[in-house]
């Protein structure tokens, strides 16, 4: 089963870490991804640029409305995601708990609808 793991974090906390601390966390991510790939669990993933770079697009009555910023001003914002294969929801949650940002933010676990 495919799951999307949304990595949600407080951007200010992330930015207030030192360069060294951030490098350490990136190294943890690379190690985790290598481990998941070795187990055939990792499909793909990416880090997103900060919420300040977001543009939000709506179409209403045929008109395009574009606003700067994310769709909602929540304290935590989506900073990245993993797409994984797991045998169960429990396994997906266990993988989510290994993501470094789980220690300071929140990982939202969402099952993906199978292709029609």
């Amino acid at each position: 089963m495919k799951f999307m793991l949304l990595i949600c974090h407080d951007e200010q906390s992330w930015n207030s870490q030192t360069e060294d601390e951030r490098h350490k966390i990136y190294a943890e991510y690379r190690q985790l991804i290598d481990d998941l790939k070795a187990d055939n669990k990792y499909l793909f993933g990416d880090q997103l640029q900060p919420a300040a770079t977001a543009q939000s697009v709506r179409v209403r009555n045929g008109e395009q409305l574009v606003t700067d910023g994310p769709f909602a001003e929540t304290r935590e914002q989506v900073g990245g995601f993993f797409m994984i294969e797991a045998d169960s929801f429990d396994e997906a949650k266990s993988i989510a708990a290994r993501i470094p940002s789980a220690r300071t933010g929140t990982i939202e676990v969402r099952p993906v609808v199978a292709a029609q």
């Binding site: 793909f44 997103l48 543009q55 709506r58 395009q64 994310p70 797409m83 929140t106 993906v112 609808v113």
Partner: protein
């Protein structure tokens, strides 16, 4: 010409569509991905199951905390995603406004970061 990658996060009030509208939306979305693929713009896409199936995981002081539901109780919730290649933000916006749920919800466009050392996506 160098292309950039963008993620299109599809946010919607799940109550905003009838089942019939949702089924129609899936069909239109699949057609859009075919068009994007033909134009060399498609990287990945997928719908997510309802937010009622969401679980949120945090680790604090070495302990795992698992709660039912999404990380934030916003009116619009994440319903799907696209990852696309486009030459600039304007092209990404042009793609976003063609995503069928743009008529019901909000498509948040986020440029992706290049991180050295991450495995290549297939």
């Amino acid at each position: 010409m160098a292309k950039m990658k963008y993620m299109l996060l599809v946010y919607m009030d799940e109550q905003a569509m009838t089942d019939e509208e949702r089924a129609h939306c899936y069909v239109e979305s699949a057609q859009l991905t075919q068009t994007l693929h033909a134009n060399g713009q498609y990287v990945a896409a997928g719908p997510l199951h309802s937010v009622s199936t969401a679980t949120s995981v945090q680790v604090r002081d070495g302990k795992r905390l698992v709660t039912d539901g999404p990380f934030a109780e916003t009116r619009e919730q994440l319903g799907g995603y696209y990852v696309v290649e486009a030459k600039d933000l304007d092209e990404a916006i042009d793609i976003a406004q063609r995503v069928p749920p743009a008529k019901y919800g909000t498509i948040e466009i986020r440029p992706l970061m290049e991180i050295p050392g991450l495995p290549e996506s297939n």
